[in-house]
Symmetry: C2
Subunit: 144 residues, 2 copies
């Protein structure tokens, strides 16, 4: 898809949430949507500043916080030191390989988690993080 049509689609998506579709906001959302990598603020900034030289890191922070408040992105705290962001709001889990550090989505049936312990609670968001070894790292480890 061309960038120009992406801009329109994301622009109207932001308008629906009463967010002014500024160029920076559109590009940041476009970056989030176009890759499943759950980037950090630094990754987003480093990638986009090449094309938007005036971009500041504060804007990236502001924009992501705005997206999270508006429920069109969510925070991934799978790591202790750095916050990651994900614009995929569907129910899915995140797996982090402790060897190669890659983070991967996986699907599961949200309703399958029995939460009778939380009767009377209002559940707004669910984050599921798994840790372990991916098949590649598993294979190279067993060779040692």
């Amino acid at each position: 898809m061309e960038l120009s049509s992406k801009v329109e689609i994301i622009g109207s998506m932001l308008l629906k949430e009463n967010i002014k579709p500024s160029y920076a906001r559109i590009r940041i959302m476009e970056y989030l949507l176009s890759r499943k990598s759950h980037p950090t603020v630094d990754e987003i900034y480093t990638a986009l500043v090449k094309e938007i030289p005036t971009l500041s890191k504060t804007t990236v922070y502001n924009t992501l916080n705005l997206f999270v408040k508006s429920n069109i992105a969510r925070v991934i705290t799978i790591e202790e030191n750095e916050t990651r962001y994900d614009a995929d709001m569907s129910c899915h889990g995140h797996f982090k390989c402790e060897s190669c550090k890659a983070i991967r989505d996986f699907s599961f049936k949200c309703a399958a988690i029995d939460t009778s312990d939380l009767d009377g609670f209002l559940i707004r968001e669910k984050n599921v993080y798994y840790y372990g070894l991916c098949p590649d790292c598993l294979a190279s480890e067993s060779q040692d």
Copy 2:
């Protein structure tokens, strides 16, 4: 239970993991076990320094990292800015009330999460975080 017998029990628990049962380590593990509050480093330090005046915050950090590496405690990254610790290694989830900020355990059947997406992966750890409103905050909110 008296502190003296706790010291012995936790001491042998640490020895099993090849961790020298120093007084600081025993008291930090005792603190983790005695409350389900998933304390932060600061909470642990502030509570224990009253009884162990020589305690340093670095020791709390070192000790918790050691516990995590030895798999007798785990990191709770339910919050963006602060790391919490939990010595309950059984399968359970954590619920955080976005209003009163309290964190609460809840149980669920770990096996109920279908992970066919992760066939071939070695899963070592699972963290399940839910966010929302607890019954108390829900009640006081609906009064407004």
